[in-house]
């Protein structure tokens, strides 16, 4: 799968409290969560975001609470992929489990740069800067999990 979108850039240690503040965790409705996505770190997130855009961040993206509401809010907002230098571990597994593509890369990307992410071949291109980086594939177990449509499908198929 090849994803295209512009970069929305953030720094290190973006925590799940700013991705979706706890005051909105009294619901699990995807649309409602999406409406408040990134609210405490970027008030203009929804104004500047277009369908398919890519969140780009530094180290330890998604640290903090285990709330799956965070990747749900990002995915339901229409973000196609999150690229970060590293991910916090619960956010990492939550994203895989719900099918939000995540990519580990330290390619130099500026806010607004046009990106192309080739998930199958592990290549991320910065079209604005004419640069690219490759990223390692997931382990075979996770590849199978993702290809099969996530954890609950694996469960239904008796793979757990």
């Amino acid at each position: 799968m090849i994803l295209n979108g512009k970069a929305l850039c953030y720094g290190d240690h973006v925590d799940t409290d700013v991705i979706i503040p706890a005051r909105y965790l009294n619901t699990s409705d995807h649309k409602e969560l999406a409406a408040h996505c990134m609210e405490d770190i970027d008030k203009n997130f929804h104004k500047r975001m277009e369908q398919g855009d890519v969140i780009v961040a530094g180290n330890n993206f998604g640290c903090g609470s285990s709330r799956e509401h965070a990747p749900i809010a990002i995915k339901a907002s229409g973000i196609s992929c999150v690229v970060a230098k590293s991910f916090a571990r619960i956010f990492y597994r939550n994203s895989i489990n719900i099918g939000l593509p995540i990519v580990v890369s330290d390619l130099d990307i500026k806010d607004g740069d046009q990106l192309e992410v080739d998930l199958d071949n592990g290549v991320i291109k910065n079209l604005s800067q004419n640069t690219q980086d490759s990223f390692p594939p997931f382990s075979p177990f996770l590849q199978e999990l993702i290809a099969g449509g996530g954890l609950m499908n694996a469960l239904k198929e008796g793979k757990l």
Partner: protein, 420 residues
């Protein structure tokens, strides 16, 4: 092949003699946990997948603790959904208001986790139970849904950091100062995907409450889990709580660690994490004397245990909370509430001008029961000080021990007990 304590527990739960760091394994679970925020998402997934029954009615714990007593209609609906799920599937360990407490204080108290167990919970602070010699880690709601149906979860076998403890705390220094010091040293991603294994002669000087507090905040260093060796303190605690027979795992002498950190407990001082990351730690020689505060919170899965309130009450006895400060006392469980009450601690707190609350996670996550206004500042015994964590995005949370929180409440600024 040599293994760490964590690796041995994981190996024992996936039917292997040895596991290697980086390997992904499917493990059998001894307990699966969720709360009123994470369980509704899991229940949706469980039902959407057409699951008809849970893997074991006794190995699932559902605790309504975050937005309870129900803070609004939406939260009430979430709790109702969890309640009805618990009844429908006959979940034995369902804790509603009146029995519930903050989950990570409640489960050890109820004897629901023993040494050698493998536990996952849809709450990041599930790593708390490493204090009991168990492997426990936080996961998401979909993990919880799959685990409720299958009793299994996928885990990447973690590398480990060895933390060697020596010495003994000075007065008014506690487990909170130890873990804040460690996070300050290695950073909020210093243990990313890794175990923190605490060892050394200093371990014997840590109470179970200290160990629970330390393991609780392993996630604040990015850790997958933290674990303490099983000793007399552990065994006495497990026996007192009526936990299952412990299975004791010990790290091999030649187990491999990615790094070793040595900490002499006697060198530690009261430590405060400044906004907006738990790694922004300072000791009092680096803290100005004029940092006025608006609120103090003493409670949570980190520091809402009986000994935390004993410490706070000793400091507050006969004194008054500063006129410009609200001080919230939140015992983490019904039992802790009773213990505080019977020990006369509530008289001390209420005489001092504190508000005493029923158990709830409430203010820790900015849920309810103590939300901060714009530019307000709070000293809190909780675990996170991210932007907006306790309320307005421009409010500030300073993480500290119960001793520092109590002294700060009296003096109306960030202060340590020796300043009283």
């Amino acid at each position: 092949m040599s293994m760490t304590m964590t690796q041995k527990i994981i190996a024992a739960h996936c039917g292997k003699d040895t596991v290697i760091p980086g390997e992904i394994v499917l493990v059998d679970l001894d307990l699966v946990l969720g709360n009123d925020v994470t369980a509704p998402v899991a229940i949706n997934e469980f039902e959407k997948a057409g699951c008809k029954e849970v893997f074991d009615k006794e190995k699932i714990a559902l605790v309504l603790d975050h937005f309870t007593p129900n803070k609004d209609i939406k939260a009430a609906e979430q709790c109702k959904m969890v309640r009805e799920f618990a009844w429908k599937y006959g979940i034995v360990n369902f804790f509603d208001v009146g029995q519930a407490g903050v989950e990570h204080a409640l489960l050890p108290e109820k004897g629901m986790v023993t040494a050698g167990d493998l536990v996952i919970g849809a709450d990041s602070h599930t790593c708390t139970y490493g204090a009991l010699g168990a492997f426990s880690t936080g996961v998401g709601s979909t993990d919880m849904a799959a685990a409720m149906a299958s009793g299994k979860a996928w885990l990447r076998v973690p590398e480990a950091i060895k933390v060697v403890l020596t010495g003994k705390f000075k007065p008014h220094v506690s487990g909170k100062d130890l873990i804040l010091h460690l996070i300050g040293k290695i950073g909020v991603d210093g243990a990313l995907y890794q175990s923190l294994e605490f060892v050394g002669e200093g371990v014997q000087n840590l109470s179970m409450d200290d160990r629970l507090c330390v393991c609780n905040m392993a996630i604040e260093a990015g850790g997958k889990n933290a674990v303490f060796p099983v000793d007399e303190v552990t065994l006495a605690f497990l026996k007192e709580k009526g936990a299952k027979t412990p299975k004791v795992f010990t790290a091999d002498e030649d187990a491999k660690y990615v790094r070793t950190i040595e900490i002499d407990l006697s060198n530690l001082n009261s430590t405060v994490a400044f906004p907006h990351l738990p790694e922004n730690t300072r000791t009092f020689d680096e803290i100005p004397k004029d940092m006025v505060i608006d609120q103090v919170v003493i409670g949570s899965c980190t520091n809402g245990r009986f000994s935390d309130f004993v410490t706070a009450a000793e400091i507050m006895k006969g004194k008054k909370v500063h006129s410009k400060v609200r001080c919230l006392i939140i015992p983490a469980t019904q039992q802790i509430y009773l213990d505080c009450m019977h020990a006369g601690l509530f008289d001390i707190f209420i005489d001092a001008g504190c508000a005493v609350s029923t158990p709830t996670c409430g203010p820790c996550l900015g849920g309810h029961m103590g939300i901060l206004a714009k530019c307000e500042r709070c000293v809190s015994t909780t675990n996170r000080n991210f932007v907006g964590r306790m309320g307005h995005p421009e409010s500030e949370v300073y993480l500290a021990s119960p001793a520092v929180a109590a002294a700060s409440a009296i003096l109306g600024r960030i202060a340590q007990p020796s300043e009283l």
